[in-house]
């Protein structure tokens, strides 16, 4: 059987989606009408737990349906259930999905964007055959168990311990700020498995989050929501078959995940009609009646130039990647720029709205911006802080020496 062309794939996807989901209506993904629909501008998805519990089955059903119909992992190797198609097919498919009201993958970013690619890089044949279909069909959802209270930026200094016990490992310790741990079935866990040397003493596992001894407790964030958690391990047993990579190779496994994370976080999933939307910002200015204020116009121009330039940069990098130049550690700068732009949007909007940004008048699209202002600082932390990412670029891209 020959592969479908991108156009044939798009047609098949259209047929599948039309049979299962309502059309997105005539307001396409690129149109935005001030005052219509939700005015949410959240940086992090943090629905209340009841809504979230309700949303999750729909997300799983969406992925399972895609998987069964052959659209679940378009670019994946056929050996592990993927369709073996190109990035072009993937983009065509995404174009079609935007025309339908589908649950989407936003709750699965870590699972699909970070953990699954890490397994593809590091997993054994058995692990890949077993886990990749489970992750892409959302039968299992994964989280990233890296940070600890004493080890955030300095990830190599983690203290959570895994000790060999025959064919098993016994794990004791604590992780913190774990996004989506409360929704996850498995987690990529980095543990210390030997005393020294640094970077060579860590090992990665795929931990069952439902195993005895795992305790997940929500952490309330400064936004008010609870999208991340603390996770405790009290003598949790993990079979050695769930080890990812070799003993002592945990640091390299973690770096793979971090590279995927920094790449994924730098893409402006917030563009389109989302929180960085030009039309939404025009809407704010008009709602405040400030479109003729030359200072507001100039500041808006400055902001838009930064948002567009970041988008153009992503597009040029994507084109270079398609032409065969894989991006290196410098893609972390896309995330730094995105976080900076979120901060700038918050500052601009606060200035335009004045009091309406700090107390709710009930007007659409005004007080809602507080969730962006509150969420933006988190984006500078998650996935590596600005400082740590700059260190990485200084050393690994520019070749500057480490601070001594």
């Amino acid at each position: 059987m020959t592969d479908p062309t991108p156009a044939e794939l798009a047609a098949a996807a259209e047929e599948y989606l039309a049979a299962h989901y309502p059309k997105a209506g005539n307001r396409g993904p690129t149109r935005f009408d001030w005052g219509v629909g939700s005015d949410e501008v959240r940086v992090f998805q943090e629905p209340d737990p009841a809504d979230e519990a309700e949303a999750m089955p729909a997300v799983r059903a969406w992925r399972q349906g895609l998987w069964d119909a052959g659209f679940g992992w378009l670019t994946g190797p056929t050996a592990y259930g993927g369709a073996g198609l190109s990035g072009e097919h993937q983009r065509e498919f995404e174009k079609v999905t935007r025309r339908y009201q589908v649950p989407g993958d936003s709750m699965l970013t870590i699972s699909l964007g970070m953990i699954a690619p890490t397994l593809l890089n590091w997993g054994t044949e058995e692990q890949k055959t077993e886990w990749l279909p489970k992750l892409y069909s959302a039968e299992q959802v994964a989280c990233q168990l890296f940070s600890e209270p004493g080890a955030g930026s300095d990830l190599a200094s983690i203290a959570t311990k895994a000790v060999r016990d025959g064919d098993n490992w016994r794990i004791t310790g604590a992780k913190v700020w774990t996004s989506g741990a409360h929704l996850a079935d498995v987690g990529e866990l980095i543990c210390r498995t030997a005393a020294e040397p640094r970077h060579g003493n860590l090992t990665a596992f795929l931990l069952d989050m439902h195993a005895p001894g795992v305790l997940v407790r929500p952490l309330r964030q400064m936004t008010g929501g609870a999208a991340f958690n603390e996770v405790f391990f009290d003598d949790v047993v993990v079979p050695d078959s769930r080890r990812i990579g070799g003993e002592g190779e945990g640091w390299k496994v973690a770096l793979t995940t971090l590279a995927h994370e920094r790449n994924a976080m730098g893409h402006s999933a917030f563009g389109g009609v989302g929180i960085l939307s030009t039309q939404r910002l025009v809407g704010v200015i008009r709602a405040a009646g400030k479109q003729d204020d030359p200072v507001v116009r100039a500041e808006f121009g400055e902001l838009i130039s930064r948002l567009r330039a970041a988008r153009y940069t992503n597009e040029v990098i994507a084109a270079q990647t398609r032409a065969g130049t894989a991006p290196g550690p410098e893609v972390a700068l896309n995330k730094v720029a995105l976080a900076d732009n979120m901060r700038r949007v918050g500052e601009f909007v606060a200035d335009v709205l004045g009091e309406a940004a700090v107390a709710d008048t009930g007007e659409w699209g005004t007080f809602a911006w507080t969730s962006l202002m509150l969420g933006a600082p988190g984006y500078r932390l998650g996935g590596g802080t600005d400082e740590v990412l700059r260190n990485s670029v200084a050393q690994r891209v520019l070749g500057l020496p480490r601070p001594t």
Binding site: T278, Q279, V282, I285, R286, Q291, D292, P294, R297, A298, E299, F300, G301, E302, I304, S305, R306, R308, A309, A310, Y312, T313, E315, V316, I317, A319, Q320, R322, A323, E330, L333, V336, A337, E387, R390, N391, V393, A394, Q395, V397, L398, G399, L400, P401, R402, P403, T404
Partner: protein
């Protein structure tokens, strides 16, 4: 949006040719002798570029003897010229090509473009107002800030509703202005009853010339920032203070990363804008202003950062960095300045007035 965002093979060849030529002929010593010369550029270098490589025919249609290329190649060329601070009348000549093509006057295009393409006619464009045309079709008045007018055989000047072509000679007096940018000469041109011919609608030509200028200056900024990054990273790896190389100080390393980050953004924005212009993208105008603003702001800030990171030597005449700092400041003013560019982005992004 795939082809065009990455440079094609012929562009990489062109870039390599120009880079090689500049490395040979526009080194620090050559740059300095240009700065001190009255012409501002060496005739031999100009001949090599204009006649041997045929650079002035870059955007001239093939039917008129040019290479028939477009804004993507303009981007590639100006990155290299900007990197070397190439001190010659290329920018004005290529703006004049755009002006003659945008004006749509076939006779004018056929009269001058073949000579421009052959490197036999140096041209330039004035954008300021101050010149009037009388009923007999003669120009009077003064325009300033005209690049390399002292070297030009042909000047394009707006007066009233029209753009006019004027040949150097009777009734045209050119004076070089003392300029901040020592590697790009600006002139004041006085017209006294100068003979001229109309070549198109001034507003139309001006819009096309402005768009071309913004893309060229943004590309030059990308090239200049490459020079700054190479210079500062090398220095940060070798200059020692407190018993260690300064690049190991995080405050210094992070400023180097900031420079690198701005270089990435400026090059991508310049390339994207060139691509949008070449493909007639609906966002082309916005992208051109975005590129000009990010390039103008980033180049100015990062040449200053480079001076700073070089320490005292960076503040000497002897180091080349001040030529880049001068170029950055001057280019930002030529593209309209920060406030103007910000307002233009706002309008182009759809903020109604």
């Amino acid at each position: 949006m795939s082809t065009g965002l990455v440079s094609a093979e012929h562009e990489r060849d062109l870039a390599a040719t120009l880079r090689g030529l500049c490395a040979d002929q526009v080194d620090s010593a050559a740059l300095r002798s240009c700065v001190e010369s009255s012409a501002g550029y060496p005739a031999g270098l100009w001949k090599a570029v204009a006649q041997d490589i045929g650079l002035c025919g870059l955007t001239v249609p093939e039917s008129l003897g040019g290479l028939g290329l477009g804004m993507l190649e303009v981007n590639t060329v100006h990155v290299e010229l900007g990197r070397a601070l190439f001190p010659a009348p290329f920018l004005g000549t290529s703006l004049a090509t755009t002006a003659l093509l945008a004006g749509g006057d076939v006779a004018a295009a056929e009269r001058w473009l073949p000579a421009i393409a052959a490197g036999e006619c140096v041209a330039t464009v004035a954008t300021g107002t101050g010149v009037t045309a009388d009923a007999a079709g003669r120009l009077t008045g003064r325009v300033q800030f005209v690049p390399y007018a002292h070297a030009a055989d042909l000047l394009l000047v707006p007066a009233g509703e029209s753009m006019f072509a004027v040949q150097a000679g009777a009734g045209v007096t050119v004076t070089q202005m003392a300029g901040l940018d020592l590697t790009r000469r600006l002139c004041s041109v006085e017209f006294a009853d100068a003979a001229c011919v109309p070549v198109g609608d001034a507003a139309v030509v001006d819009a096309a010339v402005g768009a071309h200028l913004r893309l060229a200056l943004a590309a030059e900024a990308a090239g200049g920032l490459e020079w700054c990054l190479d210079t500062i990273v090398e220095y940060a790896k070798t200059r020692e203070q407190f018993g260690r190389v300064i690049g190991s100080f995080q405050a210094v390393a992070h400023q180097c990363v900031q420079l690198y980050s701005e270089l990435r953004t400026v090059s991508a924005a310049a390339r994207w804008a060139a691509h949008a212009a070449a493909s007639g993208d609906a966002e082309a105008e916005l992208a051109g202003y975005v590129a000009a603003l990010r390039a103008g702001d980033g180049y100015r800030a990062q040449t200053e950062a480079t001076v700073h990171l070089l320490g005292g030597i960076g503040f000497t005449w002897e180091h080349d960095v001040h030529f880049y700092y001068r170029r950055a400041r001057s280019a930002l003013a030529l593209s309209g300045g920060l406030t103007h560019l910000r307002q233009a982005v706002a309008t182009a992004a759809g903020l109604p007035t």
